[in-house]
Symmetry: C2
């Protein structure tokens, strides 16, 4: 494919995520939202209203030579077939997350991408979330010393959205929905392999899929992580809770509020005085003296990686490596499969991931 | 033993907890702090300064016919021998927690108490902590609906106190120290048996004992619990986080600050609008509308049980049942042993407890 000033992209699946992509891509110089395919007529009407081409079949999209890129934002269960069809038709593909429900299906797609020489990249957009980038920098810079424990949570009180996300066959449930983001982020925080995992799936809402989960993950380098998604939480715990040898960092929410508290290396450690706590005294849980700790705000991330869409164009033109390598996406799916297995068996699974 | 206007009590082990008991018992009508035995001379001097009898051996305490009750507040490893000696000498016994390091040792003590007809009761003082009593009432009153998940945490940044609490042979470590309280409280929140447990012990401080732990406990009735003690936490997560079918309750600290947020039964559920969160939209994690939830403060506990010491006197006189039954204390020790086992093996242990 010759280099173009802008590549034509068709959005397949024009629901919430599909139209969100549309808005973002409108702002991207090198990509042009060319058309939309959806099985719902009203969505095609919406797309027409925006001046996009509309298609009445996937075949029509794929046989249109004007189309360079297909963006798949359908329910999860059809990602694989659509992606493979599109790649075989010579299109590059951007696919929504979770890319597939099973890791083996992603390997099939990767094989076809390899064969056809087309670019296939998954929209793991939360690799660009600033809260995550801050945590990654904080670990790299040893802001709280050597980090040995990370807690990553998203909690809401709205239940699962009332669409295909409640259905197992469509890849619904929170472990696949939000889990894929939090676990993807987690794996970017360390170079270490996973040593073992355990998980509990919540099914309070009586849906056939999980309405949340708690996963405890141990890495070979000693790092431990608690990853939690909840949809029945009327009060939120912090988005991030990070423990290091010299302090603790908390990011409360996507507004990036939070704080870093560290031990003060210039003050000799003083044994704290016992405090009254409930019906007992405690020295262990007494707050450290004000002089012995340093409190600071959460500092904004210094390095923001190249945007997803411009990276995609660069990969397509052979000038950059993918910001979301398929091998990394595959590892997250293997982790998710292992968490499902651990939860089902209610066992710790010891496996190198 | 005939009924007396006040019973004479000797404190064995006059360290932090022993002298704290002394202060509390001074305020108790029916108990009289009669004397102190400790192996450290300076502590005997302190006791003399308060006008207490002092003893130079345990034998001297036990052969003193004026002594009705022995209160054991020594390091954990000698609780058992001292308790059995005291019971055999005809004394009633109050013992600090954790009563023994192994559950089998408590059974031995219970047997001797049975044989001698003396009262043996463990000072599980945190059964009277108001934060715990509030959570128990909140569950009983269904304030947040049916409670299905409880998180109970204590977190400090001071490490383990620099005494025998750092040593394994003395029953040191946080699972035995604070764990025994949090687990004892947890077991009082449900009538259900435990189905399975997993645990991670933290050993960041390079002590031979755990400097904290995370335990995940599933009960047969479906209740799940996360119990956590940390001594390397510069920022605290809430003391209690309680999820029910209709809401969430949080108690932040021993000051009883916190809140209850419930769904408003008078407002029809509205699908929330998506919010921008990091580099994505989320409907699932959007805050519910203000009208659809009811926020309230944490209400103080209505029912405060009879105090430990007056209950002890009543048990001794046969007019009340023990506020801390030994069978319940035994169950907590079995749970702790199982958590050690789960952590050691890094496995979920399925066992009826």
């Amino acid at each position: 494919m010759e280099t173009k000033s802008a590549y034509n992209l068709v959005i397949v699946g024009y629901g919430g995520m599909g139209s969100y992509h549309g808005q973002l891509i409108e702002k991207t110089d090198r990509l042009n939202v060319f058309g939309v395919f959806d099985t719902a007529d009203y969505r095609l009407e919406l797309a027409k209203g925006k001046g996009y081409e509309t298609y009445d079949s996937m075949q029509a999209v794929l046989s249109d030579e004007n189309v360079d890129i297909v963006l798949i934002a359908t329910p999860n269960d059809v990602h694989k077939d659509l992606a493979i069809e599109a790649l075989r038709a010579g299109k590059h593909v951007i696919c929504e997350k979770p890319v597939t429900i099973y890791s083996a299906d992603l390997l099939d797609i990767m094989k076809v991408a390899e064969e056809t020489g087309r670019v296939f990249m998954v929209h793991q957009n939360r690799r660009w979330d600033e809260d995550f980038l801050i945590v990654r920098e904080l670990i790299q810079k040893h802001t709280v010393g050597d980090v040995f424990h990370v807690e990553s949570r998203v909690q809401g009180a709205n239940g699962i959205p009332g669409d295909w996300r409640q259905l197992k066959a469509y890849g619904g449930g929170m472990l696949l929905d939000w889990g894929v983001h939090l676990l993807d982020q987690l794996l970017l925080l360390t170079d270490s392999q996973i040593d073992s995992v355990s998980a509990h799936l919540s099914t309070i809402l009586d849906t056939e899929v999980d309405d949340g989960f708690t996963a405890f993950i141990r890495f070979k380098d000693g790092l431990t992580a608690l990853v939690e998604v909840g949809t029945t939480n009327y009060i939120k715990l912090p988005r991030w809770y990070v423990k290091g040898s010299e302090g603790t960092a908390v990011i409360r929410d996507w507004d990036l509020s939070g704080e870093v508290v560290r031990s003060n290396p210039d003050v000799e450690k003083v044994e704290p005085k016992p405090i009254q706590a409930g019906r007992g005294l405690t020295k262990t849980m007494a707050p450290p003296s004000e002089e012995s700790t340093i409190r600071g705000p959460i500092e904004r991330a210094e390095t923001i990686p190249e945007e997803f869409y411009s990276n995609f164009v660069a990969v397509l033109e052979g000038t950059a490596k993918p910001a979301v390598p398929n091998t990394e996406v595959h590892r997250v799916l293997v982790l998710i499969e292992t968490l499902f297995e651990a939860a089902e068996q209610n066992q710790v699974i010891h496996r190198d991931i």
